[in-house]
Amino acid sequence: MKLLSKKSLSSFSILPEIIAILLAFLISALILLFSGYSPLVAFSALFRGAFGSKNAWGQTLTQATPILFTALAFLLTFRTGIFNIGVEGQFLMGAIASALAGIYFSGLPAPLHIALSLLAGGVMGALWGLIPALLKAYLGVHEVITTMMMSYIASYLTSYLVNYPFKAPGWVAQTEPVAKSALLPKILPPTQLSLSFIIALFFSFLVSFFLFHTYLGFQVRAVGLNPEAAENKGIAIKNRQILAFLLSGFIAGIGGGGEILGVHGRFVDGFSPGYGWDGIAVGLVGKLHPGGCILASILFGMLRAGGMTMTRVTKVPLDLSLIIQSLVIILVAAPYFIKTVIMRRKDL
């Protein structure tokens, strides 16, 4: 982990990442060829489906939005040297809290209702992030396993809530729809793209500003880069890590809320295809920088949105998107492999 963060911070070159992405497409092309599909036809349908029209762009950005939130959440913790793979749980807990606030707060004007519902999601996400933070700070429990377990607990807990106490009548496991006053406006009709996307961009700016232009953000990064030196300088490591967990959970929770209030209008069981897990990959592909994360989330949004068009037009299974995605994750996580084997560089 330390190796990865040091390497990715010491050089600003994104060549290994670009090679990794190209290699992922190349291997996927080979898989397509072996299965008797034409990679050219499949990929052109994928790109057309993702960027070919105004609607395609809307779909891509809609898919990119939750991933951008979770990527920001992931990178905030990673910057303090914490491997928070529980973003999915924070995202889901935020989503359910926002949904319930959207349903049960009533008689509020729209902007206030939206703000309160999103805030409920953020606070819930932060609380969910606080649990592994405290376990790490005071009991020394490694966060990788606890955050992962917390994700699964959140997944089953929210599933229980929408299957039993908060289930709307009918066959589908979902809550009642949120009040109209809590719905985020759509910004590119007829696509699902909502104000949530703009909020995600705004948070990217905030995170960037926090990390690189505030003293507290500098401390957070210092803890991640060299905990011993940071401690010698009098920075309380535990506090900064707990802070990062809280901010991370808050952002992931807002992301979950944005997805409910912007796209689904209610909490539907299993609505997240793993946006929290995507965020980990996007955070790393984006080189742990909010700007990079915006680009990387569009790449992943493209795979999700374009994949649907590709399946409709070319009959290539939708799961090709997952294969490309997994290969991007694996190859981007192995910069040393890319540098020594593919780029033939010996100087590392």
Binding site: F83, V141, M149, L157, P317, D319, I329, I330
Partner: protein, 307 residues
């Protein structure tokens, strides 16, 4: 309440069945972690093995060939995980996450290509149950252990052999040294990278057997995402079992019981299944916090860079 409905022979038989894939995967995860690599990718490895076992059985007509294919699939993904994390210092957790997504996507992709549906494959011949006549003579235990597939007996064998290997052979000692203190192991002349490569691959292969159990013994077909989190439950069982073979086995039995209980309760409709499904994860956190006996992992999840 009719407690007899929950604690009877068929329930115990179901426990053994549901514990088998967990035992394999937990032991597999334990070997990886003993070598210093946390294997988050167990889920994807199991799923892929489950798929290739059905694939090979479909085309060969023999579940034995299917079993072999599942083993090879686990070995292949394990080798990739080992190569990237050990030789190329890639991050273990990210590669594991990638393997999980790959397992889900790749199995569904090929499934759709062969059977025209990403949801499920066609039905294939499963592994036959074995009958031992000497077991008939033992009351209670006989009917419980008899008429299982070979994988159930292999899982018993695996945990016993693992225990012996890890604690009573020089290779086991070296493996533990490699995971706990790679620096000293290296100084003592142990080929740290080789040990890591071998045991991460071996551990993943074991997890693959767990996947094969799901598709050739529990069900006789492949279904989309049919591991449904068992790879992560296995990680939980490994931690609850404190990274020891016996612990892994007992924890797998407990979580296997929870799985069987969850299915039974779902049909009876007395308690929401989600609550039981989340228990293993909750227990794991409690174990890690020391509330149910302190557990410390044998390694710190970092790549070992030879100086």
């Amino acid at each position: 309440m009719e407690i007899g409905v929950l604690f009877n022979l068929s329930m115990l038989q179901a426990t053994i069945r549901m514990a088998t894939p967990l035992t394999f995967a937990a032991l597999g995860g334990m070997f990886c972690e003993r070598a210093g690599v946390v294997n988050i990718g167990l889920e994807g490895i199991m799923l892929n093995s489950a798929f290739w076992a059905v694939f090979a059985t479909h085309f060969s007509g023999s579940p034995g060939i299917g079993l072999l294919a599942g083993v090879l699939s686990g070995m292949a993904l394990g080798a990739i995980l080992a190569l990237l994390t050990v030789k190329y210092y890639a991050d273990q957790i990210v590669i594991g996450t990638g393997i999980n997504i790959f397992g889900l996507g790749f199995s569904a992709f090929v499934c759709q290509k062969i059977w025209g549906s990403r949801g499920a494959s066609g039905v294939v011949a499963g592994l036959p149950p074995l009958h031992f006549s000497f077991l008939d003579k033992i009351p209670y235990l006989g009917p419980l252990l008899n008429n299982n597939t070979i994988l159930v007996y292999l899982s018993f064998l695996a945990f016993i052999l693992s225990h012996y290997f890890l604690f009573y052979t020089p290779w086991g000692l070296r493996l533990r040294a490699v995971g706990e203190n790679p620096q000293s192991a290296d100084t003592a002349g142990i080929n740290v990278h080789l040990y890591k490569m071998i045991f991460v691959t071996l551990g993943s292969t074991l997890a693959g057997l767990g996947g094969v159990f799901l598709s050739l013994a529990h069900l006789n077909f492949f279904a989309w995402g049919m591991t449904s989190g068992r790879g992560f439950i296995a990680l939980a069982a490994m931690i609850f079992g404190k990274w020891t073979p016996i612990g892994c086995f007992l924890a797998s039995l407990l979580f296997g019981f929870a799985d069987a209980l969850q299915m039974r309760i779902q049909t009876l409709g007395i308690l929401p299944p989600q609550i039981i499904l989340l228990l293993p994860y909750l227990i794991t956190i409690l174990v890690l916090t020391g509330l149910v006996g302190k557990a410390t992992p044998p390694s710190d999840y970092k790549p070992y860079i030879k100086k």
